[in-house]
């Protein structure tokens, strides 16, 4: 799995690693040895650093993925609602960084690339959402796109073949940015 971004509770970075980063950051900014040694996991300065660290990380990835694709992105989702799981989709613009706009209602979120696709996971108070991002193929006409979206909504049994035929992975576009 290739990670793009994960919020803190996914524990991708341990508190010990964050503390080391925090101390290194203070060293670079000429804090005294006493002040650096006083920073502990759980201290106010540590929490402020962690908050800034994750804010900087997401801002950085939004800037990295500020790339326009030739076609619009479609987020295909398996969504956990209070009354059960449903499948659905969200049509996004052709800007890669738009993938981050899908988990605004989630307390935790994670974006990654795996098995040739770019995906995201999010946790909210009712359950979890799982999303895979694809983009339309150039040859997909308006009618074909509508047919594919209908299939995702559950009005046809051809979702698999339609998605494969009329959408393609955005992995190559993201891989180009990160040099994977």
């Amino acid at each position: 799995m290739k990670l793009i971004y994960a919020t803190r509770n996914y524990d991708v970075i341990t508190d010990e690693e964050l503390l080391e980063e925090c101390r290194e950051n203070m060293r670079v900014n000429d804090y005294s040895a006493k002040e650096i040694n006083n920073v502990m996991i759980g201290s106010d300065r540590f929490y402020q650093f962690v908050y800034d660290y994750y804010e900087d990380w997401i801002d950085c990835e939004k800037a990295n993925l500020n790339v326009l694709l030739d076609e619009n992105i479609i987020a295909i989702a398996s969504v956990g609602l209070w009354n059960g799981r449903v499948r659905g989709y969200k049509e996004l613009s052709n800007k890669l960084s738009d993938i981050f706009s899908c988990f605004l209602s989630c307390e935790e979120s994670m974006f990654y690339a795996e098995k040739g696709n770019v995906s995201g996971k999010g946790i909210h108070h009712d359950g979890s959402n799982c999303i895979t991002y694809r983009k339309w193929r150039e040859k997909a006409s308006y009618e074909m796109r509508e047919k594919t979206l209908d299939a995702i909504r559950g009005q046809s049994n051809k979702a698999e073949s339609l998605i494969k035929r009329y959408t393609q992975s955005i992995y190559p576009d993201v891989a180009k940015v990160y040099g994977w």
């Binding site: 499948r87 696709n117 046809s156 049994n157």
Partner: protein
């Protein structure tokens, strides 16, 4: 759409989205349906 087709569709979307919990539930429901 029949129940089994609906489940196949749900399973495919779950697989595509790496939603492993839903995949397991769909698989079990498909087995149950076939058993009937």
């Amino acid at each position: 759409m029949s129940d089994i087709e609906e489940l196949k569709c749900q399973y495919f979307i779950a697989k595509m989205c790496n939603d492993f919990d839903t995949m397991v539930i769909c698989k079990q429901e498909m087995i149950d349906l076939k058993g009937e």
